[in-house]
């Protein structure tokens, strides 16, 4: 019967739309199921269309107040969240370290409670201390989005990286992703390891031994679809890779904690044309920014044909809109 097919398609479609329970916080990707991640990436794809409309603003978060509290410098993440919030018609209040009462010794919890009393629904925060967002999730009624805490997690970055890979390669499952550089201090790497492995990508970490966290393999060795491995030799690590993700290297840390000088690092770990050549012909470079051109990534490669760096930034807005949209149902019941 010819009419069977559309019905089955409709059923499959309905099955994909299994309603997820409301979500209150986005702290890391460890408590996201693959289904939830897929649904957020799909929503982001829908929301990307909104950004191309003549009037690129929709009323989904009208009447919501979002507070951004960035106690560590950031340009792109904050701007990206702000653009996302405004495209969804939320009101946004920006606080930073220097103009907040943190200087007068007001505690993080006090600041958040004050903002909650003023009617904030969602707080998007960055803090140098790992775990700080968890503190607010515990001690306030606000919805908390972690925009980076210490070395621990940066979930929105990992989601936009997953989105970018899915857009480029059609799917994340089965991809081979090499993460290169200062994994030890990288919250981006930690959240990406969760996200990529949950979605079925194999992750290889490549860095000098001193810049790899000892806990990495044990802490993340749970039963996840994607594998995690370590390969100190970058030339071997990139063989057959689909994505080479370079991390920002900080010179100070390289000398003190990496026990390596910059010259040696560049020779051993810079992502350059020669190394990209050893990866798959379709392989792409990614970087969470800000990039040190000529250090972790060679000049020319960073903004060349094989780079997804600008695409990552562009996709960040739609992915953050999807996160805010995900929280809207649970964020209305503050207090």
């Amino acid at each position: 019967m010819t009419s069977v097919k559309p019905v089955e398609q409709a059923k499959q479609h309905a099955a994909q739309k299994v309603a997820l329970p409301p979500r209150k916080h986005v702290l890391d990707l460890d408590d996201f199921s693959p289904e939830e991640i897929s649904q957020i990436l799909e929503t982001a794809g829908v929301l990307a269309e909104v950004l191309n409309r003549p009037i690129s603003k929709v009323p989904a978060l009208r009447g919501k107040t979002i507070l951004t509290l960035f106690l560590e410098p950031s340009t792109r993440t904050r701007a990206s969240f702000e653009r996302a919030a405004k495209a969804l018609s939320a009101d946004i209040i920006n606080l930073s370290g220097s103009d907040s009462s943190a200087k007068k010794g007001e505690s993080l919890i006090d600041t958040a409670r004050t903002m909650q009393a003023m009617g904030a629904n969602i707080i998007i925060m960055r803090h140098s201390m790992s775990g700080a967002p968890y503190l607010l999730a515990q001690h306030t009624d606000l919805s908390v989005i972690n925009a980076g805490d210490g070395w621990h997690a940066h979930p929105s970055q990992a989601l936009l990286d997953l989105y970018t890979m899915r857009e480029k390669f059609g799917k994340v499952a089965g991809l081979k992703v090499v993460i290169v550089g200062d994994v030890l201090h990288s919250r981006v790497a930690r959240s990406n390891i969760w996200g990529l492995r949950k979605m079925g990508a194999d992750v290889t970490l490549s860095a000098p031994p001193t810049l790899l966290p000892e806990e990495t393999l044990e802490a993340y060795s749970g039963e996840l679809p994607g594998r995690l491995s370590i390969e100190f030799d970058l030339d071997k690590a990139v063989e057959g890779a689909d994505v080479v993700m370079a991390l920002r290297i900080q010179r100070e840390r390289l000398a003190t904690e990496g026990s390596m000088n910059l010259r040696d690092y560049i020779i051993a770990y810079q992502v350059n044309d020669e190394r990209m050549h050893k990866a798959k012909p379709t392989a792409m470079l990614m970087h969470p920014g800000p990039m040190n051109e000529g250090v972790e990534v060679s000049h020319g490669l960073a903004y060349g044909d094989r780079s997804l760096v600008e695409t990552q930034v562009k996709n960040g807005v739609a992915v953050r809109m999807a996160l805010l949209y995900r929280l809207v149902g649970a964020s209305g019941v503050a207090a």
């Binding site: 997820l20 409301p22 649904q39 829908v46 269309e49 929709v58 949209y325 149902g329």
Partner: protein, 187 residues
């Protein structure tokens, strides 16, 4: 769950034919017409109306599809509905837009759809075509083209089934379901 058929396959087709004729008549032709189907079943209905007009008038009416999730007035009240892609690739500026949906109920979906349409330009007119008007309006909204007016009780559910999505054309009333609101609910 007992269900009562209120439109058979033939009656669905007849209602669509009549609506297609009425749209052309009311607009004195097809000049400037754009159909915007509301997800999900408004979209195949819009396609069928356009195909019928192609048959009667040999004119092409552009079609867009609209998901109103981002414009709902109840987003704060529960889990966010999964969004589907809106695709309106023609400009609506100065056009005669006909919104197309399967069931008209409270009117809230249509309110949301009108807000959404305005974000794509300033149409000359916005009209509304529905296959079934089941009453119980909560907003001052009415349809310009109606396949069938069906008096209903609140606890009943009107389900529009279409070949494209459900394998057959049929409209039924179902007694008090489990709070499912996928079809015909249109809160």
């Amino acid at each position: 769950m007992p269900e009562k058929v209120i439109l058979s396959a033939d009656e669905v087709l007849r209602a669509m034919r009549r609506i297609a004729h009425e749209i052309v008549e009311r607009n004195r032709g097809t000049e400037g017409l754009v159909f915007v189907g509301i997800m999900s079943r408004g979209v195949p209905i819009a396609r069928r109306l356009a195909a019928l007009i192609k048959e009667f008038e040999d004119a092409d009416v552009p079609i867009g599809s609209l998901d109103i999730g981002l414009y709902r007035d109840d987003l704060s009240q529960g889990p966010s509905p999964q969004l589907r892609k809106t695709d309106i690739s023609v400009s609506l500026q100065g056009k005669r837009v006909v919104l197309v949906d399967d069931v008209l109920y409270t009117g809230r979906t249509i309110r949301a759809a009108m807000d959404a349409v305005m974000d794509f330009g300033r149409p000359k007119t916005v009209q509304l075509a529905v296959l079934v008007d089941r009453g119980h309006r909560e907003l001052p909204i009415r349809a310009d083209y109606v396949g069938k007016n069906v008096p209903t009780a609140h606890q009943e559910e009107v389900q529009v089934r279409l070949k494209e999505t459900d394998g057959q054309d049929q409209v039924v009333i179902v007694e008090a379901s489990t709070g499912k609101e996928e079809s015909g609910g249109n809160r």
